[in-house]
Symmetry: C2
Subunit: 202 residues, 2 copies
Amino acid sequence: MSTESGTRRRISPEREAQLYGAVLDLLREVGYDALTMDAVAARTHASKATLYRQWGGKPRLVVMALTSQRRTRPDEVNTGTLRGDIRALVLAEDEETMAERSALMRSLSPAVHHNPELLQAFRDLLINPSLAELDVLLERAVLRGEVAAGRPALRFVPHLLVGALVTEELVGDRLPTHAFLLAYADAVILPALGVPVPDGNG
Amino acid sequence: MSTESGTRRRISPEREAQLYGAVLDLLREVGYDALTMDAVAARTHASKATLYRQWGGKPRLVVMALTSQRRTRPDEVNTGTLRGDIRALVLAEDEETMAERSALMRSLSPAVHHNPELLQAFRDLLINPSLAELDVLLERAVLRGEVAAGRPALRFVPHLLVGALVTEELVGDRLPTHAFLLAYADAVILPALGVPVPDGNG
């Protein structure tokens, strides 16, 4: 592997962003199943050999393209309080971007469930890293004494966040807005973790 | 409409159950998009005219078939406590049935999002009635004094329930079990509603 990596051509961050943008465009246009490495190669004027060498295949390329869209990592948010961190996370992405990303993720859902390699790529590159980042944010709240170390709701915070994002459209017939997510955090996430919410927001 | 309903032939509950069973089988075999009224008619030896007269079309027929699978309506559970009601609801369906139903609902998700008529049928026949039934269950807890009338988490209970069901497979790499759902209710739903949980279960 060391000799191979010695001869591997590096891809610049700009070129990588351009490739990921093209992958996301194709994903929106044709969906996961119909997206081919040939089409990515043609649209980005890259060789298929480069794409395979760099990403190993379609599942990892697509998931890395999705991962590249994330603006803010939970572990990098550090306002000094859990409520502040959650609010900062919610507000880090504008509502339109949030809606577009939700639609894209949702369009991938059937493929994820029928394609073990894609599911594995999701777990390895997106889900597990995000869970670990969220754990850092929550662990800081535990260390500050805001949340009791053994609080049972700690392990369900991912379910609470995902539930808020996926359910509002179906239950509430509208996309989740910033106002909705902030109200949900104050009404559900913080009380479940035993964190007091300022009067008038609980 | 009254003259038409006067000449409408009634379908027996047994025949209806048989039709819904066939629709669900077809749904599992070919998916929503490829499911045709012709195929339903052929498999059930029904005339397409009957199917259209009774259900109005594929979206309502499919959603009614899914709705027919529900064993227990939330408003019919009445144990005397909110915690008891939630536990009874969770345990009303065995884990295998729960998993099968989740898989079927998930397989429909892309169609729901691309087909306004199917989404409308879901809202009219499944989502809104379920929300109303859940409200009855929650309203009883408010009337008993278990939950404060204006408790903000009340409006988010549907999000909490759906979040638990859809996220565990992705986050936890396993289907939601009874044990998971009961622990989630004690850790999240009841604390968010301000309902005390017995020691050792919180």
